[in-house]
Symmetry: C2
Subunit: 211 residues, 2 copies
Amino acid sequence: MAQDRPRTAAKGSARGTYAVGDARRQKILDTAVEHFALWGFHASSLARIAAACGITQGGLLHHFRSKEDLLLSVLAQSEQHDVERLFAEPPESVAAHFATVVALAEDNERRPGLVRMFHTLVGEAANPGHPAHAYFRQRYARVLDHTVELLQAGVARGELRPGTDCEAAGREILAVMDGLQIQWVLAPASVDMPARLRGFLDRLLRDLSPA
Amino acid sequence: MAQDRPRTAAKGSARGTYAVGDARRQKILDTAVEHFALWGFHASSLARIAAACGITQGGLLHHFRSKEDLLLSVLAQSEQHDVERLFAEPPESVAAHFATVVALAEDNERRPGLVRMFHTLVGEAANPGHPAHAYFRQRYARVLDHTVELLQAGVARGELRPGTDCEAAGREILAVMDGLQIQWVLAPASVDMPARLRGFLDRLLRDLSPA
């Protein structure tokens, strides 16, 4: 009797194959995060990533065309979370945006693997020949532009002083986020990343508020 | 006649051999900076570094015991410059220390290869199994402790408000330095690193000064 019925309801159906493919694709992405975090792009190997997923390299190449393709797919997925947090609804105020930035730091504390991968790859990618160089340049430009726009909207609403150097403030915010992450990934127990970031942003907001 | 006299004055003398050895050792260190910056530790190879220096791997191993030894030697030398800048004379004031920090950022603009290497390696080294993990943890702790001491001295001299959270301020300063460097190595033409750092430090000093 067990032989006669399909082993799972979805088995063999188009939707079932699809779901299996999705799960395998996600497993490859999750495994790639670990490998890129530990070894960087150059020393990571598709063969080892495939082996860690229990599939052949040919099986992996069915989902991702090349190591470059896998790298850029991992980065795109890792950014999705930040985008949903930061770019979703326009915040009501600069203070609300800053609270979102702190919430993102809290999220990052719960995903150290992604934070580690980010810093391994962004360091390598300073080299213009790196396959993620253009990606990271564009990602930083996107986040900076978005931050500058939100600060400019704050100036327009009278929350921030007229003449605020929004680019300088935006670059500082990004820098403090990155720099605190480096301190935290090196020695997680030694620094309360969201609290330090909140302290910085509270002071920045006071400094930039109209007298 | 040319055959009879030594080809250089130092040739064959103990000092001459020494100088040749020093120059070769320095060439290996400089080449290793480039390789570690581009490839990271794991994907760099002693054979390729030796080849780029025009020597054999055996010749390289005469100067450095292993790839780990070469890595730690490169990092120790790269830190020397910062140490001389930052740890030399105790600064007269917090403002003088901040000026030194900005001067260091100006130095770093003139040595992009070292800055790139730093960020490639510090990213990888978040992994506790990395051969430079302990080194970077200790380096950050040293620089933070030193910064906190200088800020505390500023509080004691009345330059900074009593009750200043010197660790928070120290971590912010390190974070802004690192974060601006990441923005700069990705897109050097887009950010004036020393000017941005000066802007941040000027504001921090105003915020921490007694009312």
